[in-house]
């Protein structure tokens, strides 16, 4: 089965399933059901069974899912059965928090390069790495063969940084800048903007 046959909306739920399964495993559980997962996630058990059926037969009716096996399969499907190196651009408050966040490593990612264009930040140590001059981005990223990047720069700089990242060979960008970025075909962008999430809730408040 090729990637393009799986609906994007299904793919977008797989990391959520993986996270919940990992949590269950940490809690000492070995077997779960689509019903239990569904209650944890607020997703119907039918939806979960349907989503997972895209990737083969994981559970048997009545016996549930083997958590360890399903985690392994999901990590393989999402290609996080190995670690991805990530470049981070922006070593301000948010970039520093990301660099120090210890939740990446055990879930498939390691921030390996950190860039900033502020002379006061360049050369400083951050979470075990030296902050590099953003002007070196086009050299260091291809050298390391890094394909994923996070952007934690002001909105005004985000498109320029994204363009430079794409030129350097980056194929996936997670942007914290509150602005939509244009990238060429074949490059993916995901966004994190807390205000968007807050505004999605105020509508209902």
């Amino acid at each position: 089965m090729t990637e393009t046959q799986i609906p994007d909306i299904v793919v977008s739920r797989l990391p959520i399933y993986l996270r919940a399964l990992t949590r269950l495993q940490q809690e000492g559980q070995h077997i779960t059901s689509s019903g239990e997962l569904g209650r944890r996630l607020g997703i119907s058990s039918a939806q979960i069974r349907k989503d997972l059926s895209h990737f083969g037969e994981f559970g048997k009716q009545g016996t549930g899912y083997q958590i360890e096996f399903l985690i392994k399969q999901l990590r393989q499907i999402l290609k996080v059965d190995h670690e991805w190196s990530v470049a981070l651009v922006g070593a301000g408050d948010l970039g520093s928090a990301l660099a120090r966040y210890n939740g990446f490593r055990n879930r498939g990612f390691r921030i390996e390069l950190i860039f900033d264009n502020d002379p006061a930040k360049i050369g400083r140590e951050l979470s075990g790495y030296i902050v590099q001059d953003a002007a070196l981005l086009g050299t260091l990223i291809p050298q390391r063969g890094i394909r994923l990047a996070m952007i934690a720069v002001p909105a005004e700089a985000a498109q320029f940084v994204a363009d430079e990242l794409v030129k350097a060979g980056i194929k996936g960008i997670l942007s914290y800048a509150p602005i939509n970025i244009n990238v060429p075909e074949g490059v993916q962008v995901q966004y994190i903007d807390p205000v968007v999430h807050l505004q999605r809730m105020t509508f209902y408040c």
Copy 2:
């Protein structure tokens, strides 16, 4: 038209439209079209017209949207035509970055209470506010009538904090903890987890 008649998926796109329109306004533009917005956002112009039609007639065929008017309407629909006070729980790396982030104020939100349970952090000044003892959460939040909160605590503590927030009257929670939270009917939760976004991209890499 009542809130419940608008599909959630439409509501979830409104903050994105508002953000893009505000950007266009900052760039000095006064009028835009569903086509221009669509190109910026990677959404079809038909989709944008259909989404906005839920809330009345904003644009006239051939003349486009008045940006200022549409911004005003969207802010009203999303109820961010006034400022919401937000409580923040967790004053670690991420919480500190959120407290210092200057992108909330002009988009409808102000972090007004900051909590932590770490004696080393309680009483310290952070972005103009004193970090409060998390034990006071149940007193201070109702006192101020705050209805929105952000959680920036470790996964292990997130459910407990959410329970306390709900007891204190919080109706909407934006959680940065990488775990699904259970809340009673009538309380909303939104999640931000960078790893989920990264894993959504590695599938296609």
